[in-house]
């Protein structure tokens, strides 16, 4: 238990201490929110979709979580580089616990980031349709955060190359984000894009968030929860396995 806690609190401390990183990672979601929200808002409304900001906000929250969570993997590469990884690898604690602490820590940071973006959305004019559902929305944020932190960290545990990591991440993050229904409704899409969205776990995360925050949904909320929960669990297990096999 102690090791999980230490790995968790360590990431929170680092996050809290690096205010520039905190602010910097907010720039992108805010830009997307403002540019797309106000840019496409009038067209969206004319097409009969209603308030675009209300539609977009859950997608942007999911996006900020996706980015922060995936890039958490870089912490593992830093640790490998600056040696702290070895300190954890020779410690008499199970690597499963180290990995769980790492994933929970990264996911907590990503969720906080998502929450900050949620507050910014409120400033821009987003209104949740029902306050009672908000705790459920945070549950979804956390699950999305776990899923993608585990994914980023799994990839990082197989990589020792600092340059390769951001490249691979962008290669993965962009399609996951754009094909998730974060920016547009999933109704009436061409077959190819529809299939891509259906096999994309973030689609279910975005959908669950959108249901709990804006009252709109494409899939079923229980399906959303089930898919995100199951895949988060699966990838955490894979990540733990990969981490336990690290030799230096």
């Amino acid at each position: 238990m102690g090791a999980i806690y230490v790995m968790w609190i360590r990431q929170l401390k680092k996050y809290w201490r690096s205010k520039p990183r905190m602010l910097g990672s907010l720039a992108q979601p805010v830009l997307f929110l403002v540019a797309l929200g106000f840019g496409f808002g009038p067209i969206y409304e004319k097409a009969g979709g209603g308030n675009y900001i209300n539609f977009l906000a859950p997608g942007i929250i999911a996006m900020s979580i996706l980015f922060t969570a995936m890039f958490n993997g870089i912490e593992l590469i830093w640790d490998r580089q600056f040696g702290f990884l070895k300190e954890t690898l020779v410690a008499p604690v199970s690597r499963l616990n180290i990995m769980l602490g790492r994933t929970l820590g990264g996911a907590t940071v990503a969720t906080i980031q998502g929450f900050v973006v949620f507050l910014i959305c409120l400033l821009v004019g987003f209104r949740p349709f029902n306050i009672i559902f908000s705790p459920l929305a945070f549950l979804f944020m956390f699950l999305i955060a776990i899923l993608f932190t585990a994914l980023g960290t799994s990839i990082a545990s197989k990589l020792s190359d600092m340059q390769a990591f951001p490249l691979i991440m962008n290669f993965l993050i962009m399609p996951i984000f754009f094909l998730s229904g974060a920016l547009f409704p999933l109704n009436g899409l061409p077959k190819g894009i529809e299939i891509a969205a259906k096999i994309n776990p973030l689609s279910y995360g975005v959908d669950g968030l959108r249901y709990t925050l804006s009252g709109m949904s494409h899939f079923n909320i229980f399906l959303d929860f089930g898919v995100v929960f199951a895949i988060a669990g699966l990838i955490t297990a894979i990540g733990s396995y990969l981490f336990s096999k690290i030799q230096v």
Binding site: G2, K13, I77, D79, T88
Partner: protein, 268 residues
């Protein structure tokens, strides 16, 4: 003969085509200072990694404090403290936090930590800086902190992999004083590697000279000098391992580290 605390039998590790450690056997006695000397790429670090559960051997038998590193990892890990060749601190945490986290990893009680951490930090003269980020520390301070950290859980064996690399003579002397004292007062077994022959000569009870993954000679400094008819250990070392300069291929980690230094503007 005294009881052995480390037993190594026919240990081999192969990386691809390279035989990094080639069928070596040796014992380290309880309470002795044992030095592993060898040119770059001789297999010193690889051996330490296998003894400390970081790397699996290709073949051979290992016992550390009576436990097999392959099957009883936690028991082995509880038995030793280690100062790695490269730093292994979290630079974005304070000195105290680094110590504290180590204590949690080794299941120390809070009360015990509150007692031991300040003492150890005072011992390595870092107590005044305990709340400073490690990234503001000099190389010598980091080393001292790593030693303090390695001692926190009162290990039976202390592994030191080139602990004095890049340190000034003052710090090097202090460091060996600490180690000597611990060895004498706490009866702690010390397993070290170094490139500084004088240091090894001064502090070690027995020395193994390793080259190309094989142990060439093992004995006290006196025996090594006598057998090679040399005046100093360095002379003996050169006679045994030759004068050719060894190329050690940089691992991806080394390259990464260089890159990181460029990134973070820490051109050291």
């Amino acid at each position: 003969m005294e009881k052995s605390i480390i037993e190594v039998e026919n240990l081999t590790r192969i990386f691809g085509k390279i035989n990094a450690v080639n069928n070596i056997s040796f014992n380290v006695r309880k309470g002795e200072v044992f030095a592993f000397l060898g040119p770059n790429g001789a297999g010193k670090t690889t051996t330490i990694k296998m003894l400390t559960t970081l790397l699996h051997p290709t073949s051979g038998k290992l016992l550390v404090n009576g436990f097999d590193p392959l099957h009883h990892q936690s028991d082995v890990r509880n038995s030793f403290g280690i100062v790695f060749q490269d730093p292994s601190l979290d630079e974005e945490l304070t000195a105290y936090e680094n110590m504290e986290f180590h204590g949690v990893f080794y299941h120390l009680e809070k009360k015990l930590m509150k007692e031991r951490i300040p003492n150890l930090l005072k011992y390595v003269e870092l107590y005044d800086r305990k709340d400073d980020m490690v990234k503001t520390f000099s190389g010598g301070m980091k080393r001292r902190l790593e030693i303090a950290r390695a001692l926190l859980h009162h290990p039976k064996i202390l592994f030191l992999d080139e602990p004095t690399l890049g340190l000034d003579p003052q710090t090097r002397n202090r460091l060996w004083e600490y180690v000597s004292k611990l060895n004498k007062e706490e009866k702690m077994t010390v397993f070290l590697t170094t490139h500084y022959m004088e240091e090894a000569d001064k502090i070690s009870d027995r020395i193994a000279i390793i080259d190309h993954g094989k142990i060439i000679k093992l004995g006290t400094s006196k025996e090594l000098k006598k057998q090679t008819k040399s005046k100093t250990l360095e002379e003996a070392f050169l006679k045994l391992t030759g004068h050719t300069i060894r190329d050690e291929s940089a691992s991806s980690i080394d390259r990464l580290r260089t890159q990181g230094k460029i990134w973070m503007g820490k051109g050291k």
